[in-house]
Assembly symmetry: C2
Homo-oligomer: 336 residues x 2
């Protein structure tokens, strides 16, 4: 299985994660009932799924969601009080010791726990009261793709469960994912402006925080570009100074509440001479544009994933690297 194979599996994985976890959803409301906020432990790609949860559970469920500092539970050995929290671990492997320790500490403190993992029988899965199975099958490529979209889908599913809404709210998602995989072919033509670059920034806002961090991470893993993600708001607080003529900017500007701010930012960057590649589901400026299917704004990060994955893959190939053998990386990182 190559990374490209795993990218194209994503509609099937989304269908499976929705179907397999129906039963678990019925117990989620009760688990969360006495929690007033959510603490998430995650790293790497899963940390980007956690960012998605912060926005989706915040905006749709009005839950206050914080990403914890696993160091407090690991090397610093000073775990904070988790009183009133629902504690969620997100990990493909379910094995990273410092993340497992967060869930274990939550158990010691008597708090409700939930694990989102591709390995329900992993140490993290075994520590958690409810396990959401990512159903992604074995992910062989070092760069996570299908487990990322599966994690986002699990987060969306949990948003419905927290609100006691039916799973039919995600009925169109599998078809939209199939279209997203097809549309993502267009990404391969948009990489030319970055073939010789050694750095770029990735900007977006709102729900797409997850998208920009994941886009940057895929580029770091596969192309050895230094790709730095910025919330559009933070970007204007200083880092905007790096943009000069020819500077590569990757942007996500989809329909919804953040559309005008993002298209304004893209136009501003183009005015400074930047080379901007824009992912959009509607109208947006850009030196090159990658289309993604229009869906409800909160679901857009899920269908944006194939576009950023294909972009990173194509750019790696264009730069002479093998996306299936990135240097210096292993699939499971055991952080203590």
């Amino acid at each position: 299985m190559t990374m490209l194979d795993e990218i194209s599996e994503q509609p099937d994985v989304v269908a499976r994660v929705l179907d397999t976890n129906r039963t678990a959803m019925g117990r989620v409301g009760e688990l969360a009932a006495d929690a007033t906020h959510v603490v998430i432990a995650a790293r790497g790609t899963s940390d980007n799924a956690a960012r998605y949860a912060q926005y989706v559970w915040g905006a749709r469920n009005r839950m206050s969601v914080g990403l914890t500092a696993p160091s407090l539970f690991g090397p610093l050995d000073s775990p904070p009080s988790l009183v009133d929290a629902l504690v969620v671990g997100i990990s493909q492997s379910g094995e990273s010791p410092d993340l497992v320790e967060v869930v274990a500490e939550a158990n010691r403190q008597g708090r409700p726990t939930l694990a989102i993992t591709n390995h329900p029988d992993s140490p993290m899965g075994e520590q958690a009261e409810i396990v959401i199975d990512l159903c992604a099958g074995t992910e062989k490529a070092v760069a996570a793709t299908k487990t990322y979209t599966s994690e986002l889908t699990a987060v969306a599913l949990l948003s419905l469960a927290f609100a006691d809404e039916g799973i039919e709210g995600l009925d169109g998602l599998t078809d939209a994912m199939a279209r997203a995989v097809d549309d993502a072919d267009a990404a391969t033509d948009t990489v030319t402006g970055l073939t010789d670059a050694d750095r770029c920034v990735v900007v977006g806002r709102g729900f797409h925080q997850a998208t920009i961090f994941e886009w940057a991470l895929k580029l770091q893993e596969l192309t050895y570009l230094l790709a730095q993600p910025f919330s559009a708001a933070d970007f204007l607080h200083g880092p905007v100074a790096v943009v000069e003529a020819g500077f590569p900017v990757l942007a996500v500007a989809t329909e919804g509440a953040t559309h005008d701010q993002m298209t304004g930012l893209v136009s501003d960057m183009m005015g400074r001479g930047a080379h901007v590649v824009t992912i959009t589901d509607g109208d947006a400026p850009g030196s090159a544009v990658i289309p993604i299917p229009p869906v409800e704004p909160w679901l857009s990060p899920i269908v944006a994933a194939p576009a950023l994955q294909r972009f990173a893959h194509a750019l790696a190939v264009a730069r002479g690297h093998d996306p299936d053998s990135p240097r210096g990386l292993s699939k499971v990182t055991r952080t203590r």
Copy 2:
């Protein structure tokens, strides 16, 4: 007033913030009494002070601290429930509308609020129940320096107040800051390996999360390097792939729980041929080393600030830029 003047003012600012806010500290315990977790709203440099709060209040006070997504309160207009939270706004100017809105929403929800600002009479200061005055005087340089150390000092002071400990726990800090400002002269000799670089990574762990994000931000603002901060743990989950011979790495490796992991990481990077500049208060490897005064590990980020500030300033000058007039930036950014 130039940036260099403001860097050297920092011992005085630390002394002032400790002295001026004594009275407010007595009311902090009561304010926080019914909160079980902390939600912080901040952006830019102040967001890095928020990272410091996450680690210090987590490790010393066992408080669970989350950084909120201001977008939820602004453009997405879906503020999460803040029940059980103490809400803290950190802002030099106290003016950014989306941050003021987080504190205002906390008031509407009847939650306790605290503002850390250099302008107690600003909109944020006026919304908050308790205001910690940064006492930094006017900060004229666009790149924040003395307000950053003042914010960190305020966070340390609040840690003592939450624990009902006396302010004498910070008695040595002003003297350590004076020594830190002197020691930071050495930073100017360590920039040569980065004069022609256009990217670098900044790595650290634990309490120094704040340091690495602030070091990266100062470089972005002043040198137009793309400087990307990584927790040492996250760095091993993928981004490590960018490191090749000659790649510039900035590291913080001070005494304490994270020392062995950080010195191990620095040695590993040097083995890959990276050019590593290390900030340390003891023994640590590095192609070049910047000394900072030894203090308790949780206070180390405060005395590390002058070193990273002088480094960014010297590198800007070496690259032919004027640190007192960074391009494309203004002092107050009004994000909606």
